[in-house]
Symmetry: C2
DNA sequence: ATCAATTGTTGTCGTCAACAACAATCTTTC
DNA sequence: GAAAGATTGTTGTTGACGACAACAATTGAT
């Protein structure tokens, strides 16, 4: 493949020049940096819009909480544990739609930073009861303030009422 | 960490039993499999809902187009090239918000399957003019039919009008 | 007592975004 | 027209993330 690239770059300078069907949005020379590139069917696909939106929103979250070095998934884990102390890893994973294998590493890092502690369950010696540490509780309070600031960025971007509508539409997935 | 887990599992069976602050949504024993686990602040976060929604929507897309083995990103690349023949890799990457480094591998796979061809640009010997092959064009037509079916799944899930509203709200990101 | 299921853990694999470096090539500037 | 800087495609690495498979310890059911 690399060699194929090399050879095709060097050799076939006289390329196949087909009459070439015109673009759906009719542009002359499509190679330049103009921003009038049509998306065709993509504009009707919710998945594309959602992907772009999630990219933006996650980047803003990470940037807004960069000072405390907390990522969206870590925030969601701490929030759920804070609201439901004593949950097992299984319960947290199921509730948040995270693989329990992945949650292991997430909790490892949060435990290293002394935000969360795994306490052996009194009733089931297989499972751990998850709790926030004192440090974790006060940290989470700060995270929530920063997350609220991030949420204001979202409202600024798409509009306050649109954000409300969005939350309502997607409520069935939370 | 692994040893810490081992020891804590074996040793501290008599765990710390704090009086333990009650959960925000007031539950008795939080360790069981009940689905009444509160999300607390997460319900107000657009990012969380969007993440869950994107997970669902991408999985449905992949499943619906499994017979043709096309993933969302591949579909978006072929759609844009089909609508704008002759685009450079840079232009496609910028338009779709993909890293140009990542687009290289995407195009490699699409070129291997004879859906896309990189034709040396006549005006700029650095860049490639991207085109769909004849096989790529007819394949894309089928992909679009399947993608439309997927889009109906979305409408079934969140409601036809909600889907329209969603597309409208997120139009600024496409 | 035995067998199936659950829980946490470890590991691998593939996708994806972000970055950095590089050669080839184009563009700008003197 | 030659040097300096920018752009394009490519390669590679890193880290977050989802999916899956295996495993030991433990629990629950038969």
């Amino acid at each position: 493949m690399a060699s194929q690239q090399k050879t095709s770059r060097k050799a076939a300078a006289a390329a196949i020049r087909r009459p070439q069907a015109r673009a759906a949005n009719g542009r002359a020379h499509a190679g330049d940096a103009g921003d009038d590139i049509g998306l065709d069917a993509l504009v009707g696909h919710a998945g594309y819009a959602v992907r772009r939106f999630q990219l933006w929103i996650f980047q803003d979250f990470i940037k807004t909480l960069a000072t405390v070095d907390i990522r969206p998934t870590q925030y969601s884990v701490m929030t759920v544990i804070g609201a439901n102390p004593g949950l097992s890893q299984m319960a947290v994973a199921k509730r948040l739609g995270i693989e329990r294998a992945r949650l292991v590493h997430l909790l490892d890092s949060l435990e290293e930073r002394d935000f969360v502690s795994r306490i052996p369950s009194a009733t089931d010696r297989r499972s751990h009861a998850l709790h926030l540490t004192a440090r974790g509780r006060s940290a989470l309070a700060q995270f929530k303030r920063l997350a609220a600031e991030h949420e204001r960025h979202v409202a600024d971007k798409i509009g306050k009422d649109n954000r409300e509508r969005l939350l309502q539409i997607l409520a069935c997935f939370t």
